[in-house]
């Protein structure tokens, strides 16, 4: 039920409510959390940013789940990238050594190959995810949403037993 509610909220948000920038912001920040391993200092900071900024929480949560799956698939690549950054680039060694021996910084676990590899990937992807999502929300609200509602699949799914049951339960809750 959590999943259905999450997707329903997200679809609702795509149609109306918060601005495309808020939805895209939540989605992009959620992507950073999803790609990076849990329990790091930077993860906590990103959570704080999500909670402080008025970005969409459903989008952030859905993005977190979606990008966690992507992170699982691309984990070996993140490990390779992290190892390359930490070990093979001599120019960066000074920075890593300073950070490693500085207070607080080691709590980010930056010296872990997967943490640094996924975090750098997430930072690179952040503007791309943000801009793509923003464009998608705008397009959805203007054209794509209406087109989807007209498709046969949407008609079948929206009249299906599962969706009907979900809506009934939701009404009861309200």
């Amino acid at each position: 039920m959590f999943w259905l509610k999450l997707i329903a909220n997200f679809i609702k948000i795509l149609r109306e409510g918060q601005t495309p920038a808020q939805v895209a912001g939540g989605f992009a920040l959620g992507s950073i959390l999803g790609l990076s391993p849990m329990l790091t200092l930077q993860g906590l900071v990103v959570w704080l940013v999500i909670l402080i900024l008025d970005v969409n929480l459903s989008a952030a949560t859905l993005s977190l789940l979606l990008f966690s799956l992507i992170a699982f698939i691309f984990d070996p690549l993140f490990h390779q990238l992290g190892y390359f950054l930490l070990v093979n680039i001599d120019g960066l060694k000074g920075i890593w050594t300073t950070l490693y021996n500085a207070p607080i910084a080691p709590l980010t676990r930056f010296n872990n190959t997967v943490v640094i590899g996924s975090f750098v990937s997430a930072l690179i992807l952040f503007p791309i995810v943000y801009l793509s999502m923003k464009k998608f929300v705008i397009s959805y609200r203007s054209t794509i949403g209406k087109r989807i509602q007209k498709t046969k699949i949407y008609q079948i799914v929206s009249k299906s037993w599962i969706v009907q049951t979900y809506q009934r339960i939701r009404r009861l809750e309200v």
């Binding site: 402080i52 070990v87 890593w96 500085a102 080691p106």
Partner: protein, 623 residues
């Protein structure tokens, strides 16, 4: 900015803080237990852990660490343990503990529950041979020794010397056949070389003709003499070149031939080895009776030694050298690989500078366990940064009579790891210790007292350990009546003594593991046993030795005949060629000498002529 910021941030933060406050003790307890179990390979249990925030310190009431080799016992258990973490370094993600206080350290206590944990997949480096793996055959009970019979009549009845002397059992036989083949193969090569030398004979004949063609009597002038001398020198140079080539071939041939002479001499060693092998096959006891004590004591002591080797190996493998550029690993998903960036005079990731251990109060001590006190210094993940090796200095007592002192130094500061251990045990009561083997004087030592000292040094892949054990006040209970003369003698000797010493040395050099086992019990047993059965055994052994020597001598004669024939053929030819070369060379040299004499004569004659003419001319002037 979110309008209801307080609900979104502060409330979750407060909730998280409350949850952390409520559960941090159990989380840290679980974390320490998990890390300990991963390191030890058996259950680690911590009771009543409590974290204090200011200063950040941890305290727990008890810790039990199960023995991975006997999971119903603990390696050790502690009473109250307390330590504080350096907050400044904790912010840097480093666990630095100045002093850890450990109360009531008790060794090898019994457990009420099984301390085993599911075994993780074993990952051991393929390139490096494990110490215990290598030691296993050396420390295993010796089958050949245990099955040695001491029944002289039975030995005589069952001993079939002719079938023992089957060529298949004799390495000397096979070596002689191999040498014969090698000599035959080599003789073909020798013949080829001799043929090449033979070709030089034609060149020598040419040199001889050229030398003889120089007729000294025909030399009338100095110029003719000088030309003849040049010609003689050229011939001599050619002759010397041929001789040098011959000398090289001669040296090669002689060396090659003499090489077999050495191999034939080495056959004596092989015969001795064959004899020892035959003794083993015949199951004859060594005439010196050495090793009887090893048969009696070895099983128990060597199995204990093997057990302790396991601990040493574990310590060696768990404490690794740190590397500047770690090789890339293949970690589990979301785990990654940690890369460290230490700097000099900084702290490593983990460093417990001092562990102070107290043995608890005398009143509360259980007489069946060792209570240890002392200190452990510099437990760290990177000794190159701290600059100190891990050292252990513990002394333990048990029941007020048994003492144990343990010292260790585990040094990972340099590329070559060096581990040193020493332990001294005194007054250990041995209620029961098995002696002998199922087929040789099974017995039990009861109510003995043991003192022991052990020193172990492990530099890199080498290993050297010395163990001295002294057993006294012992009583023996034999499990059955003696079944042979030797068993009876050994039993009589043992019944008359109350103690003995054992020296056990185990060492590994260049991937070979060796064990040496000596005891003064051997001498006592040897003198008694040898008196009774030594003569009979010696007689049988001599018979076996004589028959072996006769069989080998026959085969060896064939080899020596073949070798001498081939050698004679080569050497006589070489001698013959050498004579020819020397003869021709002498001819050329004598011709050269003749020419030189002739030149001298010619010069003298001309000088005389000139002088005479000058004198005649002077006479004409002064007339």
């Amino acid at each position: 900015m979110r309008k209801k910021f307080i609900f979104f941030v502060l409330i979750p933060v407060v909730i998280v803080c409350i949850v952390v406050y409520l559960f941090i003790d159990s989380w840290i307890e679980y974390g320490l237990e998990y890390a300990g179990e991963k390191a030890v390979g058996a259950k680690v249990e911590i009771d009543r852990l409590h974290v204090t925030i200011n200063p950040i310190s941890i305290e727990f009431a008890r810790m039990q660490v199960a023995n991975p080799n006997d999971t119903w016992k603990n390696l050790f258990e502690t009473g109250k343990v307390r330590f504080a973490l350096n907050f400044g370094q904790l912010l840097r993600g480093k666990y630095i503990i100045e002093t850890m206080e450990v109360n009531s350290l008790i060794l090898a206590t019994k457990r009420t529950t099984d301390g085993s944990i599911p075994k993780p997949r074993e990952e051991k480096p393929a390139s490096q041979v494990q110490l215990t793996e290598q030691a296993k055959p050396a420390l295993a009970p010796q089958d050949s020794k245990s099955s040695i019979s001491f029944d002289i009549d039975k030995i005589k009845r069952e001993l079939k010397i002719d079938s023992l002397l089957n060529p298949k059992n004799l390495a000397t036989y096979r070596q002689i056949d191999s040498l014969k083949k090698q000599i035959n193969d080599a003789s073909v090569q020798w013949k080829t070389t001799l043929d090449e030398i033979d070709k030089s004979k034609a060149k020598l004949a040419d040199i001889e003709t050229r030398a003889k063609a120089i007729n000294v009597n025909n030399i009338k002038t100095v110029q003719a003499a000088s030309d003849a001398l040049n010609n003689a020198n050229i011939i001599l140079t050619n002759a010397n070149e041929i001789k040098n080539t011959f000398q090289t071939q001669k040296t090669l041939l002689t060396d090659d031939v003499n090489k077999f002479s050495g191999s034939i001499k080495n056959l004596d060693d092989l015969v001795a080895k064959d004899f020892r092998n035959l003794l083993n096959m015949a199951r004859l006891p060594d005439v010196s009776m050495k090793g009887l004590a090893e048969m009696l004591l070895g099983k128990e002591i060597l199995s204990k030694a093997y057990e302790y080797l396991g601990y040493v190996e574990t310590a060696k493998s768990k404490i690794q050298n740190s590397s500047d550029k770690p090789p890339i690993e293949t970690p589990a998903r979301f785990k990654g690989q940690n890369i460290y960036f230490p700097i000099e005079r900084a702290y490593p990731k983990m460093w417990i500078k001092k562990v102070l251990i107290s043995g608890g109060t005398d009143k509360s001590q259980d007489p069946q366990y060792f209570y240890a006190k002392g200190e452990v210094l510099n437990i760290t993940n990177n000794q190159r940064i701290t600059g100190f090796p891990l050292t252990v200095d513990l002394s333990a007592t048990k029941g007020g009579t048994t003492t144990l002192a343990i010292g260790a130094s585990i040094d990972r500061r340099k590329e070559l790891p060096v581990d040193k251990y020493n332990a001294v045990l005194t007054g250990l009561p041995l209620k029961q210790m098995s002696l002998g083997q199922s087929n040789f004087l099974p017995a039990t030592i009861t109510n003995a007292s043991a003192n022991a000292s052990i020193t172990v040094v492990i530099p890199g892949n080498q290993f050297d350990s010395h163990t001295k054990i002294f057993l006294n006040n012992m009583n023996l209970v034999f499990q059955r009546d003696p079944q042979s003369i030797v068993e009876r003698i050994v039993r009589d000797v043992l019944a008359s003594i109350h103690g003995f010493n054992v020296d056990l040395r185990m060492w590994r050099n260049e991937n070979k593991f060796d064990v040496s086992f000596t005891t003064d019990l051997d001498d006592q047993l040897v003198s008694s046993t040898k008196k009774v059965i030594g003569d009979e055994i010696t007689k049988i052994q001599n018979d076996l030795r004589n028959k072996l020597n006769a069989k080998i001598a026959e085969k060896r004669a064939e080899l020596e005949k073949l070798y001498n024939e081939k050698r004679e053929m080569v050497m006589s030819k070489v001698k013959e060629y050498e004579n020819i070369f020397n003869e021709k060379l002498a001819l050329v040299e004598s011709k050269k000498k003749e020419i030189e004499n002739r030149i001298e004569q010619e010069k003298k004659k001309q000088t005389d002529d000139v002088t005479k003419k000058a004198k005649d001319a002077l006479k004409g002037i002064f007339k």
